[in-house]
Symmetry: C2
Subunit: 151 residues, 2 copies
């Protein structure tokens, strides 16, 4: 984990009267080091290997705190469960219906086009907090051609 991020985490916690615990450090590290937008359970499984006594409840509570304080993002999926994303820069996601992977789709220009368009439209009676493009489909793996049951 980059030193600057560690500082941000500690500062944010301290600034909110929250304690810097081992569990919080490890959970943050795990999300930051993951490129796969892990679920709470996946974070739990990964951490448990080195830290067998951590509990799933703590993972959930900690994720809640991190989301609330703007340290990570919660991502909802077509399957209905939640995933977590350490990248805070504005970006969108590709949802693979076959593998359940969430792939990052960073495109500042597109984000800008959409937000400019919405601004120009001046949606009445609605205070926009977040704009997110959900692109669902299927990842095409060039190397291995995979066959699925429902084809």
């Amino acid at each position: 984990m980059k030193q600057s991020l560690l500082h941000k985490l500690k500062d944010t916690l301290a600034g909110n009267g929250l304690k810097v615990t081992h569990q919080r450090l490890v959970i943050f590290e795990t999300i930051d080091g993951a490129s796969n937008h892990p679920s709470a359970e996946q974070i739990y499984d990964k951490i448990r290997k080195k830290n067998p006594s951590i509990s799933l409840g703590t993972i959930y509570k900690t994720l809640e705190v991190f989301v609330e304080k703007g340290l990570i993002n919660r991502v909802n999926t077509p399957k209905g469960n939640m995933r977590y994303d350490g990248i805070m820069e504005n970006h969108n996601h590709l949802y693979c219906l076959n593998t359940n992977e969430i792939l990052d789709f960073k495109d500042e220009k597109l984000s800008e086009i959409i937000s400019d368009y919405l601004k120009s439209k001046k949606i009445n009676n609605f205070n926009i907090k977040d704009i997110r493009l959900h692109i669902t489909g299927e990842k095409i793996d060039i190397d291995k051609k995979v066959n699925f049951d429902n084809n």
Copy 2:
């Protein structure tokens, strides 16, 4: 319910070797007549008033069939639960974080801008099935000024 929609429902069911049951008619009618993107539970509650013996399991199974056959859309929400939408034309949603309402945001031009942009970008290794803009925020009610606990 419009006659054409009723026909579409019956034809789709019959065409797939599925039976046209009272429950299916009522569930379809309920979604079609709803402007609020109901959850399974909400559909259940509404139908139960006139149809006390219907079961929630049937609602879920029926919704699954309808979604599979392209008669309705399933919509996932920031809260994680699923909602159902009878409008099949391409459109986007505004998610109100205060009231949990889902408001329709129909804007063909925007949908076109986004899909054209993505086409021009030619995303490799991903076969796009659906593009959906999720706009989250807060509905502003002009008439009544509401105070929330967390202000």
